[in-house]
């Protein structure tokens, strides 16, 4: 039996904080509060354990170890106390998957209409995976895919199916 195109695993210990604010005004304060540089449009920045992703012109997503979430939430609320801003712990409403392996891109190409091969190294792309919304960025050896918690089983099903052994997209 051939090997799966990529190893699909679910990540359980990440925390996530959603930040809504006028990024032109509050971007620096946010970056200082979380310790990660402000990402450009469509990108995600990282300092190793924390990442800060651009979700929309007025929305960022901070990804960090779950244990640090409460402290980061407080720091952000503090830093943005004088801004019109919204900071929410959304750690529990997400499902996170790692797609690891040389053919990880093949797996995503079967599910997403986005041109992920053309995504910049530090890109963050929001799109859909089959019938559900997702966000995708690269990590060493593959990709991270985040979606909604309620469809975690569906996401696992489509990712595992797309990674089925022998189904690489190379021409035959």
């Amino acid at each position: 039996m051939a090997e799966a195109l990529a190893k699909i695993s679910q990540v359980q210990d990440w925390g996530m904080i959603q930040i809504r604010a006028d990024l032109a005004r509050a971007g620096d304060a946010i970056a200082a509060a979380v310790g990660v540089a402000l990402p450009e449009r469509g990108r995600i920045t990282s300092d190793g354990s924390r990442s800060l992703g651009w979700m929309s012109p007025d929305e960022l997503l901070l990804v960090l170890p779950r244990a640090e979430a409460a402290e980061a939430l407080a720091a952000l609320q503090d830093a943005l106390s004088t801004e019109h801003a919204l900071v929410l712990d959304v750690s529990d409403m997400r499902a996170v998957f790692r797609i690891q392996g040389a053919k990880a891109l093949d797996v995503l190409m079967k599910l997403c209409p986005a041109d992920l091969a053309a995504m910049p190294e530090d890109g963050l792309r929001r799109t859909r995976a089959a019938q559900v919304a997702c966000g995708i960025w690269r990590e060493p050896g593959g990709y991270v895919l985040i979606g909604f918690r309620s469809v975690a089983d569906y996401l696992r099903g489509i990712l595992t199916g797309a990674a089925a052994p022998g189904t690489q997209l190379d021409p035959r």
Binding site: M93, A117, R149, R172
Partner: protein, 977 residues
Amino acid sequence: MTETGPFRLPRGGRLIDRAYQLPFRFDGRQMRGLLGDTLASALLANGQLMMGRSFKYHRPRGPIASGAEEPNALLGLGQGGRFEPNQRATTTPLVGGMVTTPQNCWPSLNADIGAVNNWLYRFFPAGFYYKTFMHPRPFWKHVFEPIIRRSAGLGKAPTEADPDRYEQAYAHVDVVVVGGGIAGLTAARDAARDGKSVWLVEQTPHFGGRTPTDHADGQARVDALLAELRGMANVTLRRSTQATGLYDHGYLLVRESLADHDPNAGIPRQRLWRIRAGHVVVASGALERPLSFAGNDVPGVILASAVRDYIDNYGVAPGRRIVIVTNNDDAYRTALVALDAGLEVPVVIDARSAAGGALPAAVRARGVRVLTGSAIAGIKGGQAVEAVKICAHSGSGQVTETVDADCVAMSGGWSPVVHLWSHCGGKLNWSDAQAMFAPDPNRPPTGADGKAMASCVGAAAGDLLVPALTGAQAESATMPVWVMPAHATRKMKFKMWLDFQNDVKVSDVELAAQEGYHSVEHTKRYTTLGMATDQGKVSNINGLAVLSNALNQPIPATGTTTFRPPYTPLTLGTIAGEARGEIFQPLRKTPMHGWHESHGAFFEPVGHWRRPYCYPKAGESHADAVAREIRAVRASVGTLDASTLGKIIVKGPDAGRFLDMMYTGMMSTLPVGKCRYGLICNENGFLSDDGVAARLSEDTWLVHTTTGGAERMHGHMEDWLQCEWWDWKVWTANVTEQWAQVAVVGPKARVLLERLGGQIDLSPEALPFMGWAEGEIAGIPARVYRISFSGELSFEVAVPANRGLELWEKLHEAGRDLNVTPYGTEAMHVMRAEKGFIMIGDETDGTVIPQDLGLNWAISKKKTDYIGKRAQERSHMTDPRRWKLVGLESVDGRVLPDGVYAVADGVNPNGQRNTQGRVTSTYMSPTLSKPIAMGLVLNGPERMGEVLEFPVAGQESYKARICDPVFYDKEGSRANG
């Protein structure tokens, strides 16, 4: 002769491997083919010329082509779940062990009873069905429809689930070249040399197209191109890959066959590529046209190019004595290939008055008789060609000579394959010189940038010989021949087939024209020309030429029918892709879903969610379970998984003002710490969603929506914020899934919750009805909302989703002695109906306004505006005759059927009873031990006590008395605990 059939030639066959014999079955008989064969070539090698029967007359039919355009050789393929009807033998690669069955014949291929239609062909003219099944009208449903249904359709649909796997994939490519012939290979190379990412897709398993067979050094030229392409990193070559349609903005659908008919390969059978192409190069070649002579459908009459394909590609002789009939030089290639294979060519019948080109000369030099100015007057033979009757082309069919033959290779000229070009609006020009429609490069299909998104090259562009690439010498002109001989009699035209699969003949198209069908699109539908599974690939041009002649107008004045995707049929499994079984669609699950499953929940779909409908115990019916759950809640305490309720955070200095616009009621005045029920309408005034909002802080509200409304309401809010009031400072966030929510309901709800411990004071003083509090419960951070949808004392407890199961389990542990009972959506629905609470989707259907439902108390009189307010001022909305919500009490103890209408006196213009109301919710109430219902009734609130009649077909009419919709605890004291 070899073991793979009496018609297998001793030598040749560039695509077969004689070392590998493959057994297969056809019509119950065991046969052998070779690796590389198509099903058609293997059957021909075995002497099986007849492969099916036509649709209408059940005429015996053999293949006329060697590729995707084949109209006749359609077989049932496979067994059980893998059975597939209408598979083209000419494009199906032979796989060892294949089981195939002929179609459209009974009891057998050779002795088919339906063939009696064949003798009645004079009674099945164009428009037969329209003319016959017209009168009398009462016969439509019970006589005509069953007859048509029984005889309609070709092949049988499989009855079992398809066990194969399919998948889809997306690609983004600069240039996609469709067709791996020499023109396509060259175009791919040129684009790749420009540095573009290039895909080349070829429908067959082999690159090269016609060039290796038709041109000297053809294979070498193809191999050189392939070698260069294979060395280029920006080029992807895919074989057995069919471009099926080109759509808007360069969206190209392509089917890749991975393991067709090879279930043991362990990989998906087919893959559908959804490609975004910067540009599509159509290099799809050309298709040869049949000639319309009497008897042109007898098995053994085959397109000239296909005859030489079978000989050259597969080492198979379609016949041993082959008569060529043509109006062009190209068909002479078939004579040369046949002669080289040691087959006889007794005569070439050429409709042209002269045949002076190099190819005819070469054939003459081999001693073959060439009869110019000649035609076929008829074919002798029924199930196979026995002899060919020859006549002058200019005459009306006087037979001058009869020549024995077992095969006729015909060529009526070539038509470029312009389907992809035309799918998205590319236009065509008629070329008199070449007798063909070819793409007009000045009128291409255009893309998002307004520029051409496709171009044609090679034969698809009308450059049939591609001399620049093949080195072919010029040939003398094709002479258009649409009917052979030119002045054929009406009787002969009855036997000239245009559409072989649907049995449309020259006589049918002429009759249609005579009856006034002048539009080619109308003629197509009237005669069914080109409407078979082959979509008229070989018949369309001949058909519209005949129509043009009959109408005495030039061919371009008639025009073509519309080319529609897919080019060849797509199997449904490929279209479905991965979406089947468990992942047919996303099923949304709450954090407690696993608990519900392990406790026997029966689930119902609510949007994409699966919610427990009830939790039946062993031997308990659903109705019994629902009744037990309700009694337990009303007597003690129950828990409902309310996690699916939408939860939207609305925050900002303008949040209150914004919510006042969203809701009919006033949300800005809600004090912090309190909850308020609200209604959301659309701009049309109709009720769209409802729920309870809680004010979390001075500038933050948490808005609850219905389960199905979360995404819709969040989108609704964002729409207004982004597109209308974009200067208002408001943020929204849909946090539905961040929280698990449990409704703890019943007189013992407070007792149970207090047992879990925590710092939240749940006393009525600290947490009154419609209040909320924050803190910890059972060591879990929680918000508690004291709201009730059942009329009972009720707390909705929200905790972070990851801890929802923990809370749920602790409630059930701590409440065992209280008989704490999990209840489902049906118990919830019944309890809210007992209280007269409305349900979005039951009492509302997109035409109901809050005023219809007696909800005026939830509409602010002070506000100058809210979404839907202006609409609710329209005369129709303020009409006192609008049906209004009331309760309905069954008079005879029967539960009213859902959705039934109350009748009024008189009848409407259609002769139906007038109506005066309808049932919107109806249940058996376990609490009250009687049926309860709600409905919308004309002047309902003023008609208390009146009895309405609800007729139901086949039953005694239901009768119900109008009453107050609040059936239970009218004082509302129970919610206070």
